[in-house]
Amino acid sequence: MMLAPRMRPVIAAVAGVVVFAWIVGQQDLWVRALSALFPGSVRPVYPAATVAELTLQHLRLVGISSGLTLLVGIPLGIWVTRPSGADFREIVSASVDFGQTFPPVAVLALMMPILGFGLWPAVVALFLYGMFPVVSNTVAGLEAVPGTLIDAARGMGMGRGRILLAVELPLAARVIMAGVRTSVVINIGTATVAAAVGAGGLGDPIIGGINVQNMAYVLQGATAAALLAIVADGLLAGAERLLTPRGLEA
């Protein structure tokens, strides 16, 4: 069967997800692999939770924080490119810039007195940290739409909302998706520090391993987080490809 070229990365990404889910579900596999790598270790595998449980916690953390980032970041990027938001453009870009340069660990520390331990301080830190690529790519994607196209669209009688939905967003989709992809992949890695405030996830074995000086735990958490990042990157690359209008494909 012939597959359309644009479907290939999607198929590959879905296959990646299946393989990843299988690996994560095989607790025995992790025990055997880590035992082989750390023959001297009495306990080569993090005991408090299975890899599958940790991964689900991690996904929840990333899902909530990245979801909020997209929910806020994309509309924010759109708004500052509209006449009504143009005045806020500088302050928004400075803020998201600051959000990314400010270390997430420091945000965690600052949020603890307000939000306490657990999921929510981590969500806030990751939400702020991931904003920059989403907002800046949304702005860049929309600005790259040629002014003559907007002029033609207006001249034919399209209203502002329709121009945004039917012309600007489809043409900016690829650039916006590239920002989303960057943001989510960074988030998956950064979310491991959230274990420091008790948010759980794949950071637990890493931080636990550092505390008890068990490098097997660290490797376990890091490997799973890295695989998750690779799989998510592939999945989002597939989505990017699908959202790219056919007329723009090279």
């Binding site: 003559t148 002029d151 033609a152 001249g155 034919m156 009688g157 209008p245 056919r246 007329g247």
Partner: protein
């Protein structure tokens, strides 16, 4: 009919368009022309409210444009721009269907219409409908732009330097096709250009603007022969006799009593050469295939060697070809005569350099009289006006 009354557009201190008034009758082509910054594009864009006039009124068929919502107004006015502005993420057919979709037409109505329009602008739909804009040449893209503007059958078309960004050869073809489509569809067209030849070729009336003001609004002939000011005179150019040839077409001066034969060179009767230098060779249906120069026969060449086979697509002109283009064809080939054929290549006559010269001489005398005397001398000069 489009009526502009004292239309003014100011940006702070600067007045881009200054109390411009003119009227374009339905079905006519009005070309707005003038040096850059004269306000021609601003004037055009006020008609579909892409720019709101500061004062004055614009009416389309008696209705003030300020009475409709801008979006609604624009959906009933075709709009073509120099940069074309095709949506790169949509196919050619989808691009053409843009306005019909905005108007809420159903697919079974807008789809055939889009295909029909592609046919009209010379892009076979079977080949082009599913292409994307990046797969088109500049000339093809602009044809799609014209088809898109015509899709909802608007009575009025605004065109902002539509043929400005293509090469000269393509531009000439697009102009000729525009003239043909306009003869069929009879839209009211407002056309902005800075190319005088284009204006002369396409316009029923020319509105010549300068620094926001309308200098003269009249037929191309009147602008050439009776310029209202030195500025108009200079802007239209010194080669006005030649430019005038752009207004007349071959059909006006060609002779139709040409000698032709379908029997090939062998059967050319000697008498055929008595009052005509060329005998044209055609096939049974009258399609031009070549000619015989009688002087060659006189020089003793046997008739079977005297024929010159030609391709009518290259060597002949059409009745609607301008005299300017016919002249340039003759100069290019080095002939003093050129055959005239219809769209299918059937011989319909012949046009001679002498006939074109006669037309030029008329115009020359006319213009020489103008320049020597009365009219131009009486024009107010620049300083006095400002």
């Amino acid at each position: 009919m489009i009526t502009l009354r004292d239309v003014t557009k100011s940006y702070g201190e600067v007045t881009a368009v200054d109390r411009v008034s003119f009227e374009v009758p339905s079905g006519e082509v009005c070309v707005l022309i003038g040096p850059s910054g004269c306000g021609k594009t601003t004037t055009l864009r006020m008609i579909n409210r892409l720019i709101e006039p500061t004062s004055g009124t614009i009416e389309i068929d008696g209705r003030d444009i300020m009475d409709s919502r801008p979006e609604e107004l624009r959906r009933h006015i075709g709009y073509v721009i120099q940069s074309v502005g095709l949506f790169p993420h949509l196919t050619v057919a989808e691009n053409v269907a843009t306005v019909p979709k905005l108007l809420g037409w159903e697919r079974r109505r807008y789809e055939p219409k889009a295909l029909e329009l592609l046919e009209i602008v010379g892009l076979p739909p079977a080949e082009y409908a599913e292409k994307y804009p990046r797969q088109l040449s500049g000339g093809q893209a602009q044809r799609v732009g014209v088809a898109r503007a015509l899709a909802a059958d608007p009575p009025l078309l605004l065109m902002d330097e539509p043929f400005g960004a293509v090469d000269p050869l393509t531009r000439e073809r697009l102009q000729a096709e525009f003239a043909r489509i306009q003869r069929e569809l009879r839209k009211t067209v407002i056309f902005v250009t800075h190319d005088v030849d284009e204006a002369i070729k396409l316009a029923d009336r020319i509105a010549l603007m300068r620094a926001g003001r309308l200098e003269q609004y009249d037929t191309p002939e009147t602008l050439l022969d009776h310029p209202a000011s030195k500025f108009v005179h200079d802007f239209m150019g010194s080669d006005r006799a030649l430019k005038r040839l752009g207004r007349a077409c071959v059909a006006d001066v060609m002779r139709t009593d040409v000698e032709s034969t379908t029997d090939g060179t062998r059967a050319i009767p000697r008498e055929a050469c008595t009052d005509s230098r060329f005998v044209y060779l055609t096939d049974e249906s009258g399609v031009l295939e070549g000619w015989v120069d009688c002087r060659v026969l006189d020089a003793g060449t046997p008739p079977e060697d005297a024929g010159t086979p030609v391709d009518w697509r290259e060597a002949a002109v059409h009745p609607e070809t301008t005299l300017k283009d016919a002249l340039s064809r003759m100069l290019g080939f080095g002939f003093r005569n050129v055959a005239v054929v219809d769209a299918q290549g059937r011989l319909v006559g012949e046009v001679s350099l002498a006939a074109i010269e006669a037309t030029m001489a008329d115009a020359d005398t006319h213009i020489a009289n103008l320049e020597e005397g009365e009219v131009l001398g009486a024009l107010p000069d620049e300083e006095a006006r400002s």
